[in-house]
Subunit: 165 residues, 2 copies
Amino acid sequence: MNRTRIESQSTKTPPVLRDPKALDHFRALLATYMSKRGLRSTDQRHVIVETFFAVHNHVSIEELLAEVRIKDSRVGYATVYRTLKLLAECGVAHERHFGDGLARYELADESAHHDHLICVDCGKIVEFEEPRIEALQDEVAQRYGFLLKSHRHEMYGLCSDCQGK
Amino acid sequence: MNRTRIESQSTKTPPVLRDPKALDHFRALLATYMSKRGLRSTDQRHVIVETFFAVHNHVSIEELLAEVRIKDSRVGYATVYRTLKLLAECGVAHERHFGDGLARYELADESAHHDHLICVDCGKIVEFEEPRIEALQDEVAQRYGFLLKSHRHEMYGLCSDCQGK
DNA sequence: CTCATTGCAAATAATTTGCATGTAA
DNA sequence: TTACATGCAAATTATTTGCAATGAG
């Protein structure tokens, strides 16, 4: 693993404001999932999950590991991988793959069924929602006889800040 | 590399019919690009490129290598990687990444600006075009001040054949 | 002749896994 | 005390690269 790539992006973006109610919902979801399978609550899982809740959306494993190690320097990266996989399994997080070859995770949020705009220069990721596109997707799927399960819609370009350069 | 995964998908799909004129266009494009940079024409490149033209769209490296080795068993996989990279550079092919972790290549075709429907059960890939979605994409990009360079729009679901199972 | 190209093996890079040790319940 | 978890290192998997040998121009 290329450790030189670690850079805490959370210092670049303002602290994330999240609805405490929503976080409680996700904590409960995780707790239920874990107790149902006999999984155990550990210090590592706790610090990783709470850190994930606190940092910007679309964190990479590397970024999250760096943040986690500020609080507990002895957490191994395999544990972060395993814990994020767990969060994805129980529906708390979604795994995303953009063009740069590494997995990013975001808080699952059923209500915000969004897609992504990605700046190819600075890497900024903007979420967007467009119900008319969703509607056309359904129409296209029907045209080809597909029963739609999920989709991925990413648009790449230059954000307003990077167009001047 | 996992060599057990080799399976020639071209035997599952009917031989691809392509416009000979379009292929000549791509051959010329490649020849120009190569001579401009002093690159050399070799037997390996020739067999790889012609095989690529003959097989189904969205070939993986593994699949293409298997086809190529039917004609010349001594071609190394590094050469296939390098040649497909070359095709992508000169605009003859596009590299695509779907969910299965391996790169797939398709003939570049400016006129057919299509996206993909992918069956999560059998892996079938269907191309679709929907100008109204393209138009909405431009609208969304403008809304967020982005200058659009490219996009990727993939829809995952069950194709009609797999819905019955 | 000269420098691009090839095939092979070794290197990368992200992620996963085996295993001895640690620790919730 | 009994599995599950952890940390580490080693394994995986797709892709890339170094290098000596080959070959195109």
